[in-house]
């Protein structure tokens, strides 16, 4: 091996800014995801399938779908985020890049936040983009669809962030799927209730401001606290691994 490249041995290297490191983590995750496109399509396909099976399985009547449509879309979105969670850290754990992430000289919770943001961009955001089309399919009105998109836009990042805690905690287990769902679903329920509640209020013609503000509060809470919890959980999982 040629040695000419090697730097001097310095007591403390200058270090990289936290934001630059977060950007690098985010960019790498997107790049890896786009190299494996079927993993990207899975949650979307699941979302579309569940929503389109409801009219077939229950009732294709306009009155039913108008009533239940928002709830169906929210539940489908929630489950499809849940399905994608295991991928958030699993591959990195298996190939050792998670160890390297934890050992990076930046605050781990911010790197975890960057990873989770990438996860949301790849799973939650596409769901939001698809929602108008599926909303029309289940006979939602224009106003309801707009509110539905808004609640999912605020709600899906919360799902990803809370999910990151569960995914990090169950990382060391061989079959994490069931435990992950059991841990995470109770925490998802408030988000689901307020998400569908907002759409129901909009459909009744009530003001949705208070609902949206509450959901935004969920998001702020999740952004500020979930990365700490997920980072701590990652350290524990790696310590046992």
């Amino acid at each position: 091996m040629s040695a000419d490249l090697r730097p001097e041995i310095k007591p403390v290297s200058a270090g990289v800014g936290t934001f630059a490191a977060m950007k690098a983590v985010f960019g790498r995750d997107l790049k890896v995801a786009f190299r494996q496109k079927q993993d990207l399509l899975n949650p979307l396909l699941f979302f579309v399938m569940v929503v389109s099976l409801f009219p077939l399985g229950v009732s294709p009547e306009v009155s039913f779908l108008r009533e239940a449509g928002a709830g169906i879309l929210w539940v489908a979105a929630l489950l499809s985020v849940l399905l994608s969670l295991d991928h958030l850290f699993r591959h990195d754990f298996d190939d050792g890049s998670l160890e390297q992430l934890v050992l990076q000289p930046q605050p781990l919770f911010l790197l975890v936040l960057a990873k989770t943001l990438a996860h949301w961009m790849l799973t939650g955001l596409p769901l939001v983009v698809l929602t108008p089309v599926l909303g029309v399919m289940v006979h939602q009105e224009g106003n309801s669809i707009a509110v539905l998109c808004l609640t999912l836009l605020i709600g899906t990042p919360v799902l990803s962030l809370i999910g990151a805690i569960g995914a990090a905690l169950t990382l060391g287990l061989r079959s994490a799927g069931v435990l992950l769902s059991l841990l995470i679903i109770p925490l998802y329920i408030p988000v689901l209730i307020f998400g569908t509640g907002t759409v129901a209020a909009a459909a009744d013609g009530a003001s949705v401001g208070a609902y949206v503000a509450l959901m935004a509060a969920f998001l702020v809470l999740a952004v500020t606290l979930a990365p700490f919890a997920a980072a701590a959980a990652l350290r524990i999982s790696l310590s046992n691994g």
């Binding site: 041995i9 270090g15 790498r28 890896v32 494996q36 605050p107 046992n240």
Partner: protein, 212 residues
Amino acid sequence: MSEPLLQAVNLQCERDERVLFRDLSFSIVPGTVTRVEGPNGSGKTTLLRILAGLNDAWSGELLWRGEPRVNLREEFQRNMLYLGHRTGIKTLLTPLENLRALMAGRRPLSDDVLRQALAGTGLAGFQDVPCRNLSAGQQRRVALARLLVADEPLWLLDEVFTAIDVDGVSAIESLLQQRAAEGGAVVVTTHHDLRMAGMHRIVLGGGLDDER
């Protein structure tokens, strides 16, 4: 002798109710290569992960430049390079992209330098081939390319010689030796018969077997 980088005092670790080692004390001094020795299952990898800060299930004291390491996590991580059993290489990315991602949080370098580093580990011409098309040895060489551009004073290397051919092994040996001569500190675990002048050794497993 210069001031030790890392000091372990009465280190003890249990795993599955079995004591892997106890009362283990040693210093990692700049300018030395330290080899962790012991049979399979004697806790070599565990010790290295403890030193790296990945494993918290230990008791005793670990001092970084004379101060408890728990208070200095970021400073310690900036000064320490750990190459684990698992390489941290993404098989979907190319060697260049992998190396760029691994260095991004530590020491961002231009693609030219990264390409040279990869060429220096014998991957010339493979820099842009997805890693899943490379052999196990070549993938490990991608991880080893970091050693050519790393400026951390302390290196912790777990089984770096795995899947590496004879020429590669001797190249890494001389790299480590040169690193020590320049004032770096290297800790390696390996089953490979490493022979270096002035090499320090930490032997695990031996004494504890008699107690059981």
